[in-house]
Amino acid sequence: MVSRKEIEHVAKLMRIEIDDPTIYEGVDKMIGYFDILDSAGVESEEISAREIELSNLREDKHIPFGEKLIEKLNHYKGTYVRAPKMV
């Protein structure tokens, strides 16, 4: 059982404000449902991961975009992104 306080704490860390109680209820129900994993009997199971050889990665080199990407933003000055002013 997970307390509402714990869910609110995680939401705060993720910068999400819960002002709708149905959000909390939905999260709580799903976490409750995840408890089914306790009976899966997979404690001794190895986790398999998909591996990609370094040699299969594309070369790490600069590819010019061809357009001024910054001009696609609503707010910019010169070559800088203009972020909102905050106190």
């Binding site: 997970v2 714990e6 869910i7 995680v10 939401a11 860390l13 993720m14 910068r15 999400i16 404000e17 819960i18 002002d19 709708d20 149905t22 959000i23 939905g26 999260v27 129900k29 799903m30 976490i31 409750g32 449902y33 995840f34 089914i36 994993l37 306790d38 009976s39 899966a40 997979v42 404690e43 199971e45 190895e46 986790i47 398999s48 998909r50 990609i52 299969n56 990665l57 594309r58 975009f65 357009e67 990407l69 696609k72 609503n74 972020a83 909102p84 002013k85 905050m86 106190v87």
Partner: protein
Amino acid sequence: MNLKISALQFTREVKTGNISVEDFIGKTMEHIEKVDGNLHAFLSLNDNAVNQARDIDKKIKSGDKIGQCFGMPISIKDNICIKDTKTTCASKMLENYIAPYDATVITKLKQQDAIFVGKVNLDEFAMGLSTEFSAYGPSRNPWNTDYVPGGSSGGSAVSVSAFECVASLGSDTGGSVRNPASFCSTVGYKPTYGLISRYGLISYANSIEQIGPLTRTVEDAAFMLNLIAGLDSNDNTTINNNNADYLKDIDSGIEGKKIGIIKEMIGEGINPTVLSATKNAISKLEQLGAICEEVSLDMVKYSVAAYYAITTTEAGSNLARYDNLRYGYDFSVEGYAFNAYIEKARKKLGPEVTRRMILGGFVPSSGYAGKYFLKALKVKSKLTRQIDEAFKKFDLLISPTVPILPFKIGEKINDPASLFLIDINTVTANLTGKPAISIPYAISNGLPIGIQLIANSMNDKLLLQAARALEKTVKLPEVPI
């Protein structure tokens, strides 16, 4: 002008000069204007489609080299980037986002002279299975507009089913191509993980999601796969398919093939009508010479919980970029501290996305990662071992695509946990990376039922051959629009 033709029929008709691309696209756009107010498949339309069609007609007339699509009208799920067009993910957060580049699948289709008639609806950021979680309102099932079309690629399925295009691209994270295909009576294909590049697909859960086609026929799905599959240096999870031709030998049949009936997907909770249709499909396959036997994959019982634990964790990370600094919209910031500003910005995300982001923070968090996330990864590994073992004995596996019939709009929206369980038959293919297809099989009281076939990794060709064999046994009524 008959808009009710398949993609391959369209290319044949254009090649032989029976129809002009301009006429077909023009009529398609008129048809969309006429029916989409009610169906709401589209979020935006390509105002330049008829001009593009005219250019393709000119190329044909002048004998220029022409791509394999011959101006075919295709709709694109609105989480796939098309350069200089809106890509909203059906979210208010990306309401004004204009993609600065093409997804690889789009580049490939443009090279083949496809025409994108518009971007289609989805559950916000592809999180949902009814399209009711779109920030722009739900799409409606053309078979009965009181009912959901499935999701998250609901707009794709509606647009194909209602003849608003001849094919569509969706994305499938836990059944998001196959579920709406089943609910709207279209073919829906989820390829082997890595067969189609995800470059330009806005990420939700990138370790398991794939782009896939929704089409009128299995042949069309194979045709689309021929055009968009293959290695891509921009997505290092793609695999080399050696330019396989999925259309070639598609009528090979399934005589002598062994098909496993997944016991856990036809048991508790299945609608009796869906069960009856599934049994009927199995007997049809047996009549075609397949050998069908039951097989048990006991990890299926835990697959939905594992799927949501993994996907929400990836979503929590992937959606962290939506903070209104890099992507977002304008609102007054006076008086806000940094965190409060981002909290306020994220209120634009809908309830399902918010729920999943919080879950995605909680599941891998300190003290809970072992209980939820690591266990989910272990279930995924064990399920993969079980399905690999099953494929030592069977060529294919079968189940209903969705264990229930389409439901009414609003019927389940307030119970996310019960909605999640509808994914029980589709998430296995995603967790294990296997290819799977939904084939339209029956109509019960005016509502479609789809049958799912699953094959081993890279056996996409065999899967399409089997699906084609099953499809040929079926004659369904026309959609009542």
